[in-house]
Amino acid sequence: MSTVADFPLASNDELDLAFNHLQEAFYRLQDVSTGWTAVEVKSHLGQRYLRVSRQLVAPDSIADQEDNSVVHEFEEDDPEALQNPVATSRVPRVDYDVILSPIYRVPVVYFRLRDATVRNENPIDTVFRYIVPHDHHHEVKVVGIVGGITMTDHPIEGTPAFFVHPCNTAEALHHAAEQTTALTPLQYLQLWMGIVGPVVGLYIPTVLALKLEGLEQDS
């Protein structure tokens, strides 16, 4: 497999390749529980992007993240949820869209929470409650005026979404890679997810990472 030509910057074709690998590995896992509910390569007007969906669980049951029943326990404890009997389609989830920035030429993560809003709660507070791991709270809050996570219009759908501002991503990738700059597109995506993902709870599940390793050796 060829390597990312202009590291730490990426091209559409390179990311596309990595997205497809990730999608393929995810579907090969079939029924193995990963915590992710869907991985989809989407396309709009020639622009390809990756959507990863994940079920959300209450912050205090993070340790049991892969046990779906926990979600229901949480919902039962939630006074808001009591008004809406739990149905499988109403389980809160997050959709992450990974899109190449034409300006910064690095992947950017945009995300939206579904069925997670509590009435009158500020959306960013919902994000902190569900998504941002506690040890990242400070780091995300001190950057920028509102914080490292802000809202913007989704560059493809044009409707509000949260995103992590990409202005430091290229530098962070450069530092993280140290001497190794010959990365395959998939390794690049994994490195990027390792840097940007943790603050928004986007990790490659271990079983999926192992599957990817197998796939990459085959190709």
Binding site: P102, Y104, G144
Partner: protein
């Protein structure tokens, strides 16, 4: 290339551009339904709609059914279309009002500066009587959360959106956002104040530090191109809200260098042809669509670097509306 005095004069013209607005309170929120006076204001094109909210909230205080609503609950709509508050007023008008942009009968291949002089202010043509004042509706309840980002009481959300734009423009011009990140806290506060107060001198004090950092040359032109789009055709039921309402916008961005590989200056025509070849098949003549900046059809021969120096919005970007012809 023209001298600094000419640039300064043209930039001042751009800053003087304004649009008369006539803003009514949403009948559903009004004690007298549709029988309230409109709030009238001449609004700078480079300004943002939420700046008006405290005054509008006060103006409609006695008409509001719910007296508890706050200024930052306010959002604007034109013909039921919620308006993106993070886009400058002039750009929203050029995109959605349906007004014919001003144009010049002069040969587009000739120098373009004189046309800036003539047309930067708002146009005077028959169409004005239909679109001016621009009639908007203000709402203070039922925020359209799937379409607009919520504002906050302290104005941090709008300031943050602006600063993100400034950072991005800086990154494009210099290859990093170090210049804007290196601004003192006072300077970046002042920059935002200059936009809120619409104070060009104050703005230039700070902006000149951003535009002319020592030892750098212009790498890319901060450009965003806005295309009104038709409704999306298919939306899987589970994909949530999508940009499929009337008035959807496609925002197109790419890396635009000030010079072409041939060393010729990049013009608006060469940039748009590279960005949107199907909409701008010719680099010289608008065939299917026109590029509108500050209410005026731009000649495709205009060089991007000169446009940037005189006609950038306060966030450092050239925001160009595409208006289809015919």
């Amino acid at each position: 290339m023209a001298n600094a005095a000419v640039y300064g004069r043209l930039q001042k013209k751009v800053w003087e551009g304004s649009i008369p607005l006539s803003i009514r309170l949403s009948p559903a929120e009004c004690r007298t339904y549709d029988d309230s006076d409109p709030y009238l204001i001449q609004c700078p094109r480079l300004s943002y709609l939420p700046f008006l909210l405290p005054r509008i909230r006060a103006f409609f205080a006695s008409s509001l059914i719910d007296p508890e609503v706050q200024a930052h609950d306010g959002w604007f709509a034109f013909e039921s279309l919620p308006l993106k508050w993070h886009l400058p007023v002039g750009l929203l008008y050029d995109l959605f009002s349906g007004a014919e942009p001003a144009s010049s009968s002069a040969d587009p291949a000739r120098g373009h500066e004189s046309r800036h002089d003539e047309h930067t202010g708002d146009k005077k043509n028959d169409n004005d009587t239909e679109t001016l004042p621009w009639k908007l509706v203000v709402h203070f309840t039922d925020w359209p959360e799937d379409q607009l980002i919520k504002l906050d009481e302290d104005g941090k959300v709008i300031q943050d959106a602006f600063i993100n734009g400034v950072k991005e423009a800086d990154f494009l011009r210099n290859g990093s956002a170090r210049v804007v990140m290196g601004l003192s806290k006072d300077d970046s506060t002042t920059l935002w104040e200059s936009v809120e107060k619409h104070d060009l001198n104050l703005f230039n004090n700070i902006n000149n530090k951003l535009l002319n950092p020592p030892g750098t040359s212009l790498r890319h032109i901060p450009l965003k191109v806005y295309l009104p789009t038709t409704p999306a055709t298919s939306t899987p039921a589970d994909s949530g809200p999508s940009a499929n309402s009337a008035g959807s916008l496609r925002v197109v961005q790419s890396l635009v260098t000030p010079f072409l590989p041939s060393k010729q200056p990049q013009t608006l025509g060469t940039a748009l042809n590279a960005l949107l070849p199907s909409v701008f098949p010719s680099r010289r003549n608008p065939i299917l669509a026109q590029a509108v900046l500050h209410g005026t059809v731009m000649p495709l021969a205009a060089t991007m670097e000169e446009l940037l120096r005189v006609a950038a919005y306060p966030d450092g970007f050239l925001h160009i509306a595409i208006v289809m012809m015919g």
